[in-house]
């Protein structure tokens, strides 16, 4: 293999930066059990996200880019219970090994990613056309006509979720509307009357 310092990238750019998990783990003593690895894309969060390898299983020759690894996962400063298996994503060239002298820093900088005062709403107002449609539809079907035009919100499950969803009539701290909502970057909407665009 030719060794040259200059790396020239060809093709499309990528967000990934690093090696596949097997490239890291396969060259370490004892398959790197006890070492700390990180996914580069998760370093975009202010809280630390890292994984500590606890167990490694190699894969047959047909899956030479993959490896089966069990890790203690810490995502955004919060330690997930139990072990997490990495197999399906182990081929991604996005894993980085943390040197042993920097491990201490990682472990200490656990600022827990927690939003105890944020309650997500469990209801949302209907879109304006749907309101009219549903009245007619229920009249046609002979059902009772809806008085409060609200829809229940469904949240997808994720082990990383920390924000609580409101239970019952609990008052949420954030509000989702069917309109445009409150822009994060008002500078993008200069000269635009936002009140007209929000459907009420």
């Amino acid at each position: 293999m030719m060794t040259s310092k200059v790396v020239k990238y060809v093709g499309r750019t990528t967000d990934f930066k690093g090696k596949t998990l097997w490239e890291i783990v396969g060259s370490l003593k004892g398959y790197g059990v006890g070492r700390i690895i990180v996914r580069h894309v998760f370093q975009r969060y202010p809280e630390p996200s890292f994984m500590k390898i606890t167990k490694v299983e190699t894969c047959p020759d047909e899956e030479r880019r993959r490896v089966r690894v069990w890790v203690e996962k810490t995502f955004r400063g919060r330690r997930l219970p139990g072990l997490t298996e990495i197999y399906r994503t182990s081929y991604k060239t996005d894993y980085q090994l943390i040197p042993k002298d920097e491990e201490e820093k990682f472990m200490k900088s656990i600022a827990v990613h927690d939003f105890p005062d944020v309650i997500l709403p469990n209801k949302i107002e209907m879109p304006p056309l749907m309101k009219k449609f549903i009245v007619k539809d229920h009249e046609k079907k002979g059902l009772e006509i809806i008085q409060d035009f609200v829809l229940p919100i469904k949240y997808s499950y994720s082990p990383n979720r920390v924000k609580r969803v409101a239970v019952g009539d609990e008052k949420p701290t954030v509000e989702f509307t069917m309109g445009l909502g409150k822009p994060v970057s008002p500078s993008l909407y200069e000269g635009v009357q936002l009140e007209d665009e929000i459907c009420r």
Binding site: G11, L151, K154, L180, V184, S185, S187, L188
Partner: protein
């Protein structure tokens, strides 16, 4: 469907109006002029990125809510349709059953009367048929008896000319006395020329001499 290549290779492709989008079909390979082109990655400012993220998340939440509403609606409708446990539906079902039974009774009676009539008709038809058949058999028997008796009569008449044991000698004598020669010829007028030993007279004799037997 006409292939895209065929359309392109035609002599005058303008004549064909394609309702499709004017682009390469999905299964065509990358064009030669585009093969090493690397599209530039869109550069978003941080403000724009955050705003787009917020809008997208908002939209997804809204759509999930609408979808969930209609999914729940469908599930509820289906379950109410499937489960006939409610009192209302049970009562309705009982009424329906009662009505069905009454209707069934009515139909059964109607069909029973029709069946009786049909059976009577069928029975009379069968009787008629049987009688006709018996008569036909009788007639046939009678005819056969008549035919047989007629034949017997005829045979009896014929049997008078039969040669019996007593008449045998006489018959032999008669046969010897009158030999018959069947070797004769017939001319166009139907005259019989008998005998192989009869001399043929070709002269203008009109009458052919009959050989004396």
């Amino acid at each position: 469907m006409i292939s895209h290549k065929f359309v392109l290779n035609r002599a005058c492709p303008i004549l064909i109006q394609c309702a499709q989008a004017h682009r390469k079909p999905r299964w065509f390979p990358v064009a030669k002029s585009k093969i090493y082109r690397i599209p530039k990655r869109p550069q978003l400012s941080e403000e724009e990125r955050l705003e787009i993220l917020r809008i997208t998340n908002n939209y997804k939440t809204q759509m999930r809510a609408v979808r969930k509403f209609y999914t729940d609606d469908m599930v509820k409708e289906k379950s109410t349709l499937e489960s006939a446990t409610s009192e209302m539906s049970q009562r309705l079902e009982a009424e329906e059953w009662q009505r069905c039974e009454e209707l069934n009774e009515k139909w059964n009676k109607q069909i029973a009367t029709e069946r009786e009539e049909r059976r009577k008709k069928e029975l009379s038809e069968m009787e008629d048929f049987a009688l006709a058949r018996m008569e036909a058999i009788d007639r046939e028997k009678r005819e056969r008896v008549e035919k047989a008796s007629e034949q017997i009569k005829r045979e009896k008449e014929l049997s008078e000319t039969f040669i019996s044991r007593e008449k045998l000698e006489e018959a032999i004598d008669y046969a010897l006395a009158n030999p018959v020669d069947y070797n004769y010829a017939i001319d166009l007028k139907g005259n019989m020329h008998t005998g192989r030993d009869t001399p043929i007279q070709y002269e203008n004799k009109e009458r052919v001499q009959v050989s004396s037997n």
